[in-house]
């Protein structure tokens, strides 16, 4: 069964909307900036909470930045669609932060003053944000949220595709979001994997990740929905697979067991051979462990057919739960425009990938099928394959 992509929406450090994001990618313009507050590089979305609240006429209530960034991306993907009694429609969202961005501020205030009804200001669980979005769009048939750390976004897409394939839904918005938080910055610093300089995925001198924030959504439809909506498809999702690395809570196994399983599984699902993949958007966080483990896994799966690959986290930073969806949107842009995006900040490419890592934007690349990888804490691994129509 063909599953079509008919809408994309994205906000990231390199742009508001997919047009601006594409432009930054093509021009190799990073969104990572050194913070004047803490001195580390991070990828901020250039929209304040107030601007988004104003844009969506949401004055008068409190929202987590997770809800706000998601609204920007999901409304771009949903575009002029509307609820339809014959089209079973749903939302699969993903986040690791949820309401924590505001929680950490309120809790800090509470600890300082030891008083105040801060609990009533706490914006609650991860699913709350998704409920608000479903209310805003009027979509109720299936409204769910996943949270699997850095593979969340990819899993939201995977679950959405399965819901369509199993005829539970005809049309589904799949996406994810994470805003920047002090919690995560201090967390990755405590693990000593936050590069004190700008991140350098797949470089021999890489010292860790830079965090970013953002949200991206895709609209998936089956043929029945397409006939009723009249939407024009822009690409297809043809393969997916999820597996557990089963090794360590925060480190990937040396051989990339989980990643090998998911890359092979996605190829099998898509009924493709390794040599048919035109481009891999790697997880490529810039940590010593991930980039080595992922390179080894790619080599084991693709061998002499390893395609051109890049990590785009040098543009956006590692957007955690949002990464899988942001990078999926980049894969779709790659297909539509036949371009391959470059891997920024490379000085000395790792030997394992030096032949394949893209160092400069490639135009007229005849992109047929793209793969994207996302690997998260807990050893959660997911690979997706997108294909030209």
């Amino acid at each position: 069964m063909a599953i079509y992509i008919t809408g994309i929406g994205i906000v990231s450090a390199i742009g508001i909307g997919h047009v601006e994001n594409l432009s930054s990618l093509l021009q190799e313009r990073t969104g990572l900036l050194k913070s004047p507050v803490h001195g580390l590089f991070e990828g901020k979305v250039k929209l304040s909470d107030e601007e988004i609240i104003h844009q969506f006429n949401l004055e008068g209530n409190q929202y987590s930045r997770t809800t706000l960034l998601s609204l920007c991306a999901i409304t771009e993907a949903w575009s002029k669609n509307s609820a339809h009694c014959k089209i079973k429609s749903g939302i699969v969202n993903g986040t690791s932060v949820g309401g924590l961005d505001k929680m950490e501020l309120h809790y800090r205030e509470f600890k300082k003053h030891k008083e105040g009804n801060y609990l009533s200001k706490m914006i609650y669980d991860n699913g709350y944000s998704t409920s608000l979005i479903s209310e805003y769009l009027g979509i109720y048939d299936y409204v769910n949220t996943l949270s699997t750390a850095c593979s969340t976004g990819a899993n939201a897409i995977l679950l959405g595709a399965r819901l369509i394939e199993n005829k539970i839904l005809d049309r589904v918005l799949v996406g994810s979001c994470d805003p920047l938080t002090e919690f995560n910055r201090r967390g990755f610093e405590s693990l000593k994997i936050y590069d004190p300089a700008i991140c350098k995925p797949f470089d021999k001198q890489r010292m860790g990740l830079n965090l970013g924030e953002g949200s991206a959504f895709l609209l998936l439809e089956n043929e029945k929905s397409l006939n009723l909506t009249g939407n024009s498809p822009i690409a297809r999702i043809s393969g997916w697979h999820n597996a557990a690395d089963n090794y360590h809570q925060t480190a990937s196994s040396p051989e990339g067991t989980g990643s090998q399983l998911t890359m092979k599984g996605a190829l099998k699902k898509a009924r493709l051979q390794a040599n048919e993949i035109s481009y891999i958007n790697a997880h490529g966080t810039g940590t010593s462990n991930n980039d080595l483990s992922e390179s080894i896994a790619i080599d084991k799966v693709f061998k002499e057919h390893t395609p051109p690959l890049s990590s785009t986290k040098g543009f956006t930073g590692h957007t955690l739960a949002a990464a899988g969806c942001i990078e999926a949107v980049f894969c779709v842009l790659s297909i539509i425009h036949d371009v391959l995006f470059s891997n920024l900040n490379l000085n000395e490419p790792m030997n394992e990938v030096s032949q394949h890592v893209i160092q400069k934007t490639v135009y007229n690349a005849a992109v047929q099928h793209t793969m994207t990888n996302s690997f998260g804490f807990g050893g959660n691994c997911t690979s997706l394959i997108f294909s030209k129509l």
Binding site: G127, T148, N166, F183, R186, E189, A243, G378
Partner: protein, 311 residues
């Protein structure tokens, strides 16, 4: 979908205690969760780094997977609404109290929502499908729906769990619902699901969610009708909150509120499922062909699980 085995840790004495459903006590009379002796399932060293939800999940999982080889487990699917809230608070405390500097990563490492599912994959040596659902009070229901989908796609055994820990500083049920009468609680319910009957005594015959706009009221009978379910006189309805929805069309002797035994937390429908199984299998006083579990903690976000004997 057949349930081969189930386990549960709760306010009731539910862990490894068949027939507990005939000895239920109102939560008002119970102060603490009836935790098992965790050292039977986890080493003391490992336990030190584990928060409540991870410990409960491991104990429950190990109890029901005794008769299964590692290679027979095909996936782990978890529903949790607040995830690792205890470790999240711990790391926040570290940040706020430290005034800068490099912190210990221990609490951060296990603060993600999928810590339970990830830890289980390592402990149970399972490379299969691994997912964590977190949709408020429907977290467990969506995990169950996912498990049923997985089973259709790939025959096998799936570990399904619902767990939440009670961390009342960052997130509090009383504050969430603006009600002092709510008993905030915690617990874990785990199940081995299979598409093959084998020795299973119960099966899930239907599960669905129903969400609608805030401000619209919903009669339970109408909600069930949308999924072509008519209530029979022999049905038992296990309901989270008997004050929350329009129940006028259902005889009151057929309704039992489960939240007064489990306390309130968003994944307490996992407790309800374990309770339903005990009613069907281990409780001769309960005579029913079908139990309809209705999770209506949030009245606009309803989850329904229907469980019957496996015959």
């Amino acid at each position: 979908m057949y349930i081969r085995s189930s386990s549960c840790i709760s306010l009731q004495d539910s862990f490894n205690n068949p027939g507990f459903s005939s000895r239920l006590i109102d939560e008002e009379s119970i102060q603490y969760i009836a935790h098992p002796n965790y050292s039977e399932f986890v080493s003391i060293m490992e336990m030190r780094r584990m928060s409540e939800s991870v410990k409960m999940s491991i104990a429950c999982s190990k109890l029901i997977l005794q008769d299964l080889n590692d290679s027979d487990l095909d996936g782990i699917i978890i529903g949790t609404s607040m995830g690792s809230s205890i470790h999240t608070k711990k790391f926040l405390d570290n940040i706020i109290d430290s005034h800068g500097g490099i912190l210990s990563p221990t609490a951060f490492i296990s603060s993600t929502h999928n810590t339970i599912a990830g830890q289980l994959s390592i402990l149970l040596n399972c490379n299969g499908y691994n997912m964590t659902h977190t949709q408020s009070n429907l977290s467990f229901e969506y995990a169950l729906i996912d498990a049923i989908l997985m089973s259709k796609e790939s025959v096998g055994n799936y570990l399904l769990g619902g767990a939440d820990e009670s961390e009342n500083t960052l997130f509090n049920m009383k504050a969430r619902f603006n009600s002092e009468s709510i008993r905030s609680s915690s617990g874990a319910g785990f199940f081995v699901l299979s598409g093959r009957r084998e020795n299973a005594k119960v099966k899930v015959t239907n599960t669905f969610t129903f969400s609608h706009s805030i401000g619209k009221s919903a009669s339970l009978v109408d909600i069930l009708k949308l999924s072509y379910i008519t209530i029979n006189s022999t049905d038992l309805i296990l309901l989270a909150d008997s004050t929350n929805n329009d129940l006028v069309d259902i005889p009151s002797h057929q309704i039992q509120e489960y939240q007064k035994y489990s306390g309130t937390y968003f994944t307490n429908s996992a407790f309800a499922l374990h309770l339903a199984i005990d009613f069907l299998v281990n409780n001769p006083n309960v005579i029913t062909d079908r139990i309809i579990i209705v999770n209506n903690i949030i009245s606009t976000n309803i989850g329904v699980i229907i469980v019957e004997p496996a015959i």
